[in-house]
Each structure stands twice: as structure tokens, then as C-alpha cells.
């Protein structure tokens, strides 16, 4: 791995996103609007709100990171810049880590705004450490970046990337305990939920925020998320190929 090349790729991502101010505004603004709606809808049912809010924090981080990475990497492929990059001494790992480093600041900023808004404005129960929340979200974001890069090889345009959302995101939302607690689902759905990375993030976030759990109590969730992230990193690396 070459540090300067990796940082150059991360810097390029940051520059590209900063040039696209409307997308930045939407990435930050849209979750706040949804969170506000959820907050008003369940203002008289704090138990439901307490269960949903941490889950939605994870969902937004996953959703926007996946979407932004998928579209940005698809552009690399279709505009020919990826091919051009691959005819330089850059390594695949430089590209993958560069992408991660480029997207993490935006995911972190988005998560910070949503968590602050959720805790302060919606007044949900929050007993845990924000650092622990950040660590768990980081593992989820790494998985989302790699998934975005991996999925981009199956799409020919940005419209097709959005068509992957029902396949990639919808099952995770339904099967990760966001709408219905997992233990109330049919057994086959409970089994299926085990292969959904978002499930482990939701479990971990609820555990930290509602019950004040330390990282030592959620090592299982964190480890599985990191395994997903690593597996997706390997899959993504296979899609960045030279001759």
C-alpha cells in the first residue's frame, strides 16, 4: 500500500463530494426530516421511538454511504477514470482504502448530526458512550463502502444503482428488527436476518444507546460487522481488475 496514493484518492473523493453541495445538503437534511417525522409519529409511544431511533441512525449511515459510494464508483467505471487509474502504479488496496478514507468523514459528519438531533430534539433514551456508537457505525460504514464498490460492477448507469436499493436495503430494513423486533418474526425470517449486516449494527446501537452497553458487551455484533466488512472488501477488490 502506498500512503500518498491512498490519501490522494481519499482527497479526490472529499473534493468531489464538496463540489456537490446539494448532495451534501440532502445527505444531512433528509435523515433529519425522516427522524422528525418518526419523532412526531411516536411522540406518545417512547418505547417504540427508543427502539426505532437507534436503528434508523444505522440505516441512514448504511443507506447513504452505500448509495454515494456506488454512484461515485460507477462513475469511475463509466467515465473511464478507473481504467486510467489502473494504468498507473496504483494498487487495488490503495483504491479501496482511499475510498474508505474519503467517505468516512462524510458518514461521520452525517452520523454526528443525526445522533445529536435524535438525542437532543427527539429526547430518546441514551445511556451509552457516543464513542462506542461511532465505533460501531464505522464498522457499518466500511461494509457499506465496500458493498457500494462491489455492486457498482453490476450497474451500467446511476438509475440501475438505485434499482439495487430494494434488493440491498429493503430486506435489511425489514429483517433487522427496525420495524418488527426479530424475536417476533417467523423462524425462517429470523434465520435470514443473520446474514444482514444491518441487523448487527441495529442490535449493537440499541444495546449501547438504550442499555448503556460497553463495547465488551457487543463484541459479537462488532466482530460480525467487521467480518462482513472484510468479506465485502475482498469481493470489492475482485471487481477492480487489471488484465
Amino acid at each position: 500500500m502506498n500512503l500518498d496514493r491512498t490519501l490522494a484518492i481519499a482527497g479526490k473523493i472529499v473534493l468531489q463530494l464538496l463540489h456537490d453541495r446539494r448532495s451534501i445538503a440532502l445527505v444531512i437534511g433528509a435523515p433529519i426530516i425522516v427522524m422528525s417525522l418518526v419523532g412526531f409519529s411516536f411522540s406518545n409511544q417512547p418505547e417504540i421511538l427508543n427502539r426505532i431511533a437507534p436503528a434508523l441512525i444505522g440505516t441512514f449511515a448504511f443507506f447513504f454511504t452505500f448509495l454515494l459510494t456506488g454512484i461515485t464508483f460507477l462513475r469511475e467505471r463509466t467515465q473511464g477514470t478507473l481504467e486510467r487509474m489502473l494504468v498507473t502504479p496504483v494498487g487495488r488496496i490503495d483504491i479501496l482504502i482511499g475510498y474508505l478514507l474519503g467517505f468516512i468523514p462524510f458518514a461521520a459528519a452525517q452520523s454526528a448530526v443525526i445522533v445529536t438531533f435524535t438525542v437532543l430534539a427527539l429526547d430518546i433514551t441514551h445511556q451509552g458512550s457516543l464513542l462506542n456508537v461511532a465505533i460501531l457505525l464505522l464498522a457499518l460504514v466500511v461494509a457499506a463502502v465496500n458493498l457500494g464498490i462491489f455492486i457498482s460492477i453490476f450497474a451500467k448507469n446511476e438509475f440501475q444503482i438505485t434499482q439495487f436499493l430494494p434488493i440491498v436495503l429493503a430486506p435489511q430494513v425489514f429483517l433487522s428488527g427496525i420495524i418488527l423486533p426479530i424475536e417476533q418474526m417467523p423462524s425462517y425470517f429470523q434465520l435470514l436476518s443473520r446474514i444482514m449486516p444491518l441487523r448487527y449494527a441495529v442490535d449493537g446501537l440499541q444495546s449501547i444507546m438504550l442499555r448503556g452497553s460497553e463495547l465488551s458487551s457487543i463484541t459479537g455484533e462488532l466482530t460480525i460487522l467487521l467480518v462482513f466488512a472484510l468479506a465485502l472488501l475482498i469481493l470489492a477488490s475482485f471487481t477492480i481488475r487489471r488484465a
Binding site: R5, A8, T81, T88, R242
Partner: protein, 241 residues
């Protein structure tokens, strides 16, 4: 020899794109691959760059099979401009300079500014590429291929979209690079470009129907007034018959 190609074949599915193609290019040569659209020019450039692998035959570049070890020695300009349109001219060139390993900031800045000057884009250096004309984008793409001063340049249609004055300036620049030790392989469908090369290969349906210096190719027609277009048609008819 900088490049040696032996019995090269490339198939795209069942379609033969290049067949039994042989080519030797010595150092400091400007070699023009000239042919119509679909003749296999871009495929050949991408094979030499190592972006795609041959179906059969061999390519030897700088004495070895193209691999990642050689990528620092190649300046590749694809037919598709392959630029970050939301970034400025300087940001684009600077990014690829870093990809090529120019990590020292002040040296890189000097190199990037110099190359932007050489392609006559100094006034536009802070403009986003999206705002540039086709010809200006072409020059940004060229600047990226040149930024690490590579010994081999693979330029796919580098002069398309350039006006006659710029085309002439760019060619002067290519000749300077060649005089300073670089080898240039340039694809084009424009005979005006072919005329300025040291050696030209006429590519037709995936194989060279003639290779030689422009004057030798025109002389071979037996018509002292023949130009390269006449020569191309002459060799094409000869190949068909």
C-alpha cells in the same frame, strides 16, 4: 526495441478483433496506428497498455511481458477522455501525478504547472473540466498522460477535437518528446496525423495491411502524386485482391 508483438490475437466473444498481428517499434519512434473506426486501433492500444490480455500471441514491452511493474513507464491517453469533470484542470492533473508517484509536493506542483502550460491551458487551470470545450478536455487528458514524463506514450486519438493551430502545436510537442528519447504510439483515423509520424501502420479488419514510413507508403503506390489516403486505399485494395 521498445515494443515487440508476435502473432497477436484478440477475440471479443466469437468476434475476432485482431488476428495474427506482428509489430516492432524501436525507441524514439513516433508510430501511427491508422485505420477506420472498428479496425481495432483502440483494442491494440489497450492490449499494449496491458489493460486487456491477448487471446493468443505475445507482447513484449521494454523487454518483458506487460505487467504492473511497467505502468510507471507508460503514459496512456484513452479515447474516452476519462477525466473528473467536477474537478478543475489542475486538480485532475495533480491527482494523476500522485498516482504516478510524484509524492513530493513542491516538485509535483512545478511539474503539474509546467505541463498545464505546455498544453496551453494555464488560463483554464482553475476551471472545472465540465466547463471546458471538447478540445480543451482533450488537452487535459493529454497533460495527464505526459505528467510523469514516461518513456512510452500510448495516445488513442489524441488530436481529435483540436483546431489546426493546436494540432500543429501538439505535434511539435510530440516531436520534441521523441527527440528527447520518448517513444510515441498514436492511433488516429486522420491522415494529417499519419503524415507527421515516423512510421505508420495501416490497420484494416484487425491486421496491418502495410507498415512503413509515410513517404515509403505513398511511393509504393507507383503514383508520385499519391498521398497517404491514396496509399491506404491502394493497400486496402491489394489486401482484398
Amino acid at each position: 526495441m521498445v515494443l515487440e508483438i508476435e502473432k497477436l490475437e484478440f477475440n471479443y466473444g466469437n468476434q475476432k478483433v485482431l488476428e495474427n498481428l506482428c509489430l516492432d517499434i524501436p525507441k524514439e519512434t513516433i508510430f501511427g496506428i491508422v485505420g477506420a473506426s472498428g479496425s481495432g486501433k483502440t483494442t491494440l492500444i489497450r492490449l499494449i497498455a496491458g489493460i486487456i490480455a491477448p487471446s493468443a500471441g505475445s507482447i513484449t514491452l521494454f523487454g518483458e511481458t506487460p505487467s504492473s511493474r511497467l505502468w510507471g513507464n507508460i503514459g496512456y491517453m484513452p479515447q474516452l477522455q476519462a477525466l473528473y469533470t467536477d474537478l478543475t484542470v489542475q486538480q485532475n492533473v495533480n491527482f494523476f501525478a500522485r498516482m504516478f508517484g510524484l509524492s513530493e509536493t513542491s516538485h509535483r506542483r512545478e511539474v503539474v504547472e509546467s505541463i498545464i502550460n505546455q498544453v496551453s491551458l494555464w488560463g483554464e487551470r482553475n476551471d472545472p473540466v465540465a466547463k471546458l470545450s471538447g478540445g480543451e478536455r482533450q488537452r487535459v487528458s493529454l497533460a495527464i498522460a505526459l505528467v510523469h514524463n514516461p518513456p512510452l506514450l500510448l495516445l488513442d486519438e489524441p488530436t481529435s477535437g483540436l483546431d489546426p493551430k493546436l494540432r500543429s502545436e501538439i505535434w511539435q510537442y510530440f516531436h520534441n518528446l521523441s527527440a528527447n528519447g520518448s517513444t510515441l504510439i498514436i492511433s488516429s483515423h486522420v491522415m494529417e496525423d499519419a503524415r507527421r509520424c515516423d512510421q505508420v501502420g495501416f490497420l484494416q479488419s484487425g491486421n496491418f495491411i502495410a507498415i512503413g514510413a509515410p513517404d515509403d507508403l505513398t511511393s509504393a503506390t507507383g503514383n508520385e502524386n499519391a498521398n497517404l489516403e491514396d496509399a491506404f486505399l491502394y493497400f486496402m485494395n491489394k489486401d482484398n485482391s
